[in-house]
């Protein structure tokens, strides 16, 4: 077949009709304070890992909420679970527990294993 130099690109849309939004409910059950997050970014601003890598906890949390799990497990492995983010959160969200539980749930979903 002739190669025209075009290919079909993957859709970039977060499709709320097909995305797995239920997975977030499991997280809420484990860490109820995750509902309170208002995405102010104080956590990712203070994050030690963010200063050296492209890790962004706030974004990971939001992607998880939206059911966008691709590549998330690898991202979460950049976190050292130091808990500094928890100290600065104005809404008292247990950020550390969110990461810990997201890792477990992603593992259950057969995304990349916890190292």
């Amino acid at each position: 077949m002739k190669n025209w130099g075009f290919k079909i690109s993957q859709p970039r849309t977060i499709d709320f009709d097909t995305a797995d939004l239920k997975e977030f409910n499991k997280l809420i059950e484990k860490v109820p304070s995750s509902k309170r997050c208002l995405m102010c970014g104080a956590c990712s601003a203070t994050c030690s890992a963010s200063n050296h890598t492209d890790f962004n906890f706030r974004k990971c949390h939001l992607m998880y909420r939206r059911g966008q799990f691709d590549g998330l497990a690898e991202e979460l492995n950049k976190c050292m679970l130091c808990g500094k983010c928890k100290l600065v959160c104005p809404r008292g969200v247990n950020t550390r527990a969110i990461i810990y539980n997201m890792r477990i749930f992603l593992n259950d979903l057969n995304y990349k294993n916890i190292e």
Binding site: L38, M39, C40, G41, A42, C43, S44, A45, T46, C47, S50, N51, N56, R58, K59, V88, C89, P90, R91, G92
Partner: protein
Amino acid sequence: MKDKEILIIGGGPAGLEAAYNLAINGIKVTILEKDPSIGGNIKKWVKLFPDFGDAAEVRKIFEGKIKHENITLHTDAEVTKLYNDGGKWFVKDTKDNTYSAAAALLATGFEAFDARRKEELGYGIYDNVITSVDFEEMYKTGKILTAQGTIPKRIAFLNCVGSRDEKVGNHYCSRVCCINAVKQATEFKEIVPDAEAFCFYMDMRMAGQFYEELYRKSQEKYGVIYIRGRISEAAATIDKRIQIKSEDTLTGLPLRMTVDILVLMVGIESSASTTELSTQNEINGEYGFAKSLGLYNSDNLTKKEGLFLAGSCKRPLTLPETVADARSASIQIVNYLNIN
């Protein structure tokens, strides 16, 4: 028939506006103000949002209004006790004077949040971290300068300091700081047009008449830059500037910036007198504010007969809201003293 007299605790906008309206209705008013002069929190302000109205002028109008034969003003009179005895209301001040009347109005207002409680933001540690109240103090001189006396090239305002913050126990929004940041950033750019002004916010709450217009003008005419992210740390550099860390949440990238001055937009907390006197009378509500009987039909009444509330002792209010609330309290008090 009750004696036509009232004690007003607090000589700020709420107390003064109520005093005037009660006096012209033939009620003898005694105002007790803890400071040496009247005006309350507007004493600290230069210009008022959203129209840059002159705070000193507003204060002068109040001064004129309370020059009435029915009004007695006691300054330097901090009320420490408020109680009812045999249907009459009594207050005691720090000088051990006792006053009494048929009714009492609590108009003890608010206090600005003590920014030292947010240690990570460096207030009280680094000289170039100031509060919005300090900004006003400096603005009185007509100049905004760093602690080293230089003209700042870059300034940052941080919203929600002491508001919407579980870590300091204040879940509520103080309502006035967003628009005040817009006002102060605009004032700064008027003085130093070449400098950069940044505003860090979680949400910009422009829910007042002309607020949105001022917000828009600050961007369009004055070039104030708004960044959505909460500053989580501030530290001094070797040359005494302030380095701040935030996330630029809309790009999703961490942000670092060195500024000459960091202004913390401190929130509204209940004043010490508000908390103390409302607790004494079991009308203390959430966060140390005084609690009215009902939000819709009895917002100036309390569960104690003859004890009324006006202004920001109840919750964070803007100046026009406070003054309107004081007028509303006045008519309730007039009715109470005439009917009962």
